[in-house]
């Protein structure tokens, strides 16, 4: 049984488990175990490690989790490397996913945050109307947004002359339509709930309207970053809208999420799981960075 007061896990032990995972994960394909079991394998091995070490060494829980995690990562590494090396277009698909997600998140941020600050600051008369519109947009299914953008950008449609259907920029536009209301709504909410005293204090200290807005934004920075993170989460997981508007054209508009869909259509499940893992890792890295950034903005 774990004993309190025992020394927490140090880095060397975690590295040991990482290496152990790499060894086990590297042997499995060699002895011909089917890759489809990868998901079960990760969970099972992490669980087994957890129990083993808990019984044998009696470590504190936090150290156990780190070890289990290290083992899982090590387990997956050889498979991931093999997967990336043997799959065509994986880098291009990943790059495009990153591009579409990143660009749409940034564009949506650039539109939604200033608008959200303005809406949150000024107690406009039509605020109820704005809020109703906003909540309607929240409920807008992304796939419907994709359909609307498709009809707009199609050559038969009003913006057809731009030739943006089935292109990366078209996908960005579709995602911007989906993500902007989300960032806008959270920013407005966060900014309007900034203490009235903040605005008053800034006012008393001599801030003009622009400086007051900047100060409110400074106070709400942590909340605004949350809005951006939620928007990013929406963007990276979007599949319906980008499928409709992008068309999943090889070498042009294939992203991780749409490729998972077509993989399932073609029963290439292992490939799909691999892509999903890449998605998780990408998202995880971005979130880790954003959390770091957010820490600096907390009061």
């Amino acid at each position: 049984m774990p004993k309190d007061g025992q020394e927490p896990m140090g880095d060397p032990t975690a590295l040991l488990f990482l290496a152990l995972g790499v060894v086990v994960g590297g042997i499995l394909p060699v002895i011909g175990l089917v890759i489809d079991l990868v998901v079960i394998g990760i969970l099972a091995s992490a669980g087994i490690v957890f129990l083993l070490v808990w019984v044998v060494r009696g470590m504190r829980t936090r150290g156990l989790l780190v070890c289990a995690l290290a083992f899982s990562i090590g387990f997956v590494l050889p498979l991931a490397v093999w997967f990336v090396l043997t799959t065509r277009d994986i880098l291009q698909i990943t790059f495009l996913s990153l591009y579409v997600t990143g660009t749409s998140t940034l564009v949506s941020t650039a539109i939604a945050v200033p608008l959200g600050i303005a809406l949150g600051l000024h107690e406009v008369g039509g605020q109820r109307l704005v809020r109703n519109i906003l909540f309607t947009l929240y409920g807008l299914p992304p796939v419907l947004a994709g359909l609307l953008v498709f009809l707009l950008l199609s050559r038969g449609g009003p913006l057809g002359f731009l030739g943006l259907l089935f292109t990366p920029l078209g996908m960005v536009i579709a995602q911007v339509v989906v993500v902007t209301p989300i960032i806008l709504g959270i920013t407005t909410s966060v900014v309007s709930t900034v203490e009235r005293r903040v605005k008053e204090t800034a006012h008393v200290l001599g801030a003009d309207r622009r400086q007051l807005a900047a100060t409110v934004m400074h106070e709400a920075a942590a909340g605004v970053l949350t809005a951006v993170m939620v928007g990013f989460g929406r963007a990276i997981s979007e599949v319906g809208a980008v499928f409709i508007v992008g068309g999943h054209i090889q070498g042009q508009t294939q992203v991780l999420t749409t490729t998972i869909i077509t993989d399932v259509q073609q029963a290439a499940y292992a490939h799909a799981v691999g892509l999903g893992a890449i998605l998780l890792v990408l998202g995880g890295i971005v979130y880790a960075l954003l959390f770091r950034l957010q820490e600096r903005t907390l009061p």
Partner: protein
């Protein structure tokens, strides 16, 4: 620099409750003018009207003998000559430096001048070592000193203090009172000190006024106010006979 203030017939009501019923007061440039009175008498409301945070129902305030300007730019310029420290001040997220230098930043001061003046203000309240500290981690006394430094770093012509040492321990009270005295001496700025602590009024003020039931019932030089008040209510108040 400094400012004179004339409060003429100011009335303010919140709904059915009339708080100020015709306040008359004259604050001379460069003096420390204390406003005392029981809680709920409207002292804070009066200060907020002076600082344009509330509009009066009737009456007006004149700054240096002139009515407040109507244009937003001139209004802003006037407001920037006034500083205020409230009882539980709100400090912005970030460092003490950010908070104290805020007023200067807003007025376009930057670079080494910003740095020097901010540090000087912190020295003035005795906490130069806290310059990089997080504002959210300060004790009440430290926070109040930061708020004070933040208010005076811009050298306001008029400084409004609203019960600014209430709930503080004697050490902090002393430090802040010394800072007020020094500020008034060094810059000649006018100070309006709202307090229910008569001893503080006695220690700091040049002139004192009693705000009672929405009116200034008596104002006068500090010594006279306490030793020889003209109004019987003042006498009762000074003797602690009012429940407040």
């Amino acid at each position: 620099m400094t400012m004179s203030l004339e409060i003429e017939g100011v009335e303010k009501a919140f709904g059915p409750r009339a708080v100020l019923r015709g306040v008359e007061a004259r604050v001379r440039p460069g003096e420390i003018y204390a406003v005392v009175g029981p809680s709920g008498a409207g002292k804070t409301t009066l200060l907020r009207i002076v600082d344009f945070l509330l509009p009066p129902e009737a009456g007006r305030v004149r700054y240096d003998g002139r009515a407040p300007p109507s244009g937003p730019i001139d209004r802003l310029a006037l407001r920037r000559r006034i500083g205020m420290v409230a009882q539980n001040p709100l400090l912005f997220r970030g460092s003490v430096f950010y908070n104290v230098s805020y007023g200067l930043c807003v007025r376009g001061v930057e670079g080494s001048e910003l740095l020097v003046r901010t540090l000087k203000a912190l020295e003035g309240v005795g906490i130069p070592g806290l310059v990089n500290a997080r504002a959210s981690g300060l004790s009440a006394g430290e926070a109040q000193r930061v708020a004070f430094a933040r208010a005076i770093v811009t050298h306001p012509d008029l400084l409004l203090l609203d019960e600014f040492t209430a709930n503080l321990d004697p050490a902090n009270v002393n430090a802040l009172e010394a800072a007020v005295r020094e500020y008034n001496r060094a810059t000649g700025g006018t100070v309006i000190l709202v307090t229910h602590n008569m001893f503080q009024a006695k220690r700091l003020a040049h002139r004192v006024a009693l705000l009672l039931e929405g009116r200034i019932v008596e104002e006068g030089p500090v010594q006279e106010f306490f030793e020889n008040p003209k109004d019987p209510r003042t006498r009762a108040f000074v003797n602690g006979e009012f429940a407040f």
